[in-house]
């Protein structure tokens, strides 16, 4: 088997597993019970899926110009996906979209209550 064939197989494996992970992330978005659990789906399998697709593309294309662009896409995805998940989670947190009956403990609620209490004291 030539080197090209081996690289093509590697690329195919990366592309297919990346696509499957993205599919799983999509299924998770539909099936998970509330906003916060859905954000897990958006942050993890989706990021790894994209990285695998990028690796697959890089192995298949094998030209410097394309690979540098793919590297940039991957780096920015890693840097921005957690921030996006954080912003959406934070914006949606004290809201009925979140199933508090599925939570074992909620230490953020206690923290927010305390902050509100401190604000009231400062105002009084």
């Amino acid at each position: 088997m030539t080197l090209d064939a081996v690289l093509d197989i590697v690329a195919a494996v990366c592309l297919i597993s990346g696509a499957l992970l993205s599919l799983a992330a999509g299924v998770a978005l539909v099936r998970f019970p509330d906003l916060l659990t859905r954000m897990h789906a958006a942050a993890k399998p989706q990021v790894l899926g994209l990285l695998l697709v990028l690796v697959g593309c890089g192995v298949r294309l094998r030209t410097g110009v394309d690979i540098t662009t793919l590297v940039l896409v991957g780096v920015f995805q890693l840097a921005t996906a957690p921030v996006a998940a954080h912003m959406i989670g934070r914006a949606g947190y004290p809201h009925e979209e979140i199933r508090t009956d599925l939570l074992l403990t909620d230490e953020l609620a206690a923290h927010l209550d305390r902050l509100a209490g401190e604000r009231d004291e400062a105002r009084a």
């Binding site: 992970l21 799983a24 992330a25 299924v27 998770a28 099936r31 998970f32 019970p33 916060l36 659990t37 954000m39 897990h40 789906a41 942050a43 993890k44 399998p45 990021v47 790894l48 899926g49 410097g64 110009v65 394309d66 540098t68 662009t69 590297v71 940039l72 890693l78 840097a79 996906a81 957690p82 921030v83 998940a85 954080h86 989670g89 934070r90 947190y93 508090t100 009956d101 599925l102 939570l103 074992l104 403990t105 909620d106 230490e107 953020l108 609620a109 206690a110 923290h111 305390r114």
Partner: protein
Amino acid sequence: MNPDQMTPAPPTEPPNPPLTRSARQRNQITAMVGLVTVWVLLWGTLSWANVIFGLVVAAILLAVFPLPPVTFAGRIHPIGMLRFWRRFLSDLVVASVQVAWLALRPRHVPRSAIIAVPMRVNTDLNLTLTAEALTLVPGSLILEADRATGTLFVHVIGVNSRDEVEQFRRGVYDLEARIVEAIGSPDELRRVRTIGYPNPPADLEGEPT
């Protein structure tokens, strides 16, 4: 365990002391190098024209959008860095498979929890990096960061008991320790090693509402 460990970590230093001249210059140079690298990667070829034009663009960007001051007291430890990246990549794979499995598993509603984790090293850089890494490793999602006390609020998926929640909390501290081992200053390293796992702050214990 001494009482000091019961309270959330106080800032190890004023969170944002005014930067010294050399620290400011170092930050500027780091930002310049980063921006020029992105520029060259976008063009895809390393040539003098690209580098020089990248420098011009970077200088304009930094003049128009100055970066917030970042205090970086540590230095880069290559071995700690390698260890962090190896663990991070394997964690990313585990996390993805775990969430994919939770999604495809029939008739199962995952339970979760929101926990407060006061960081032992309260600097902006450490908070940011730990929060970023946490979101990508198994089971956790960053919800809120309280800069005053250096506390991260983490949403945990797929836990079934309080014991598992506490186990997860220790996992977060392990992650913080790996980051400090990769880029921390000797002072921060000592702090992480002597404190170990702090107890959860008592006043944050919350029952589900």
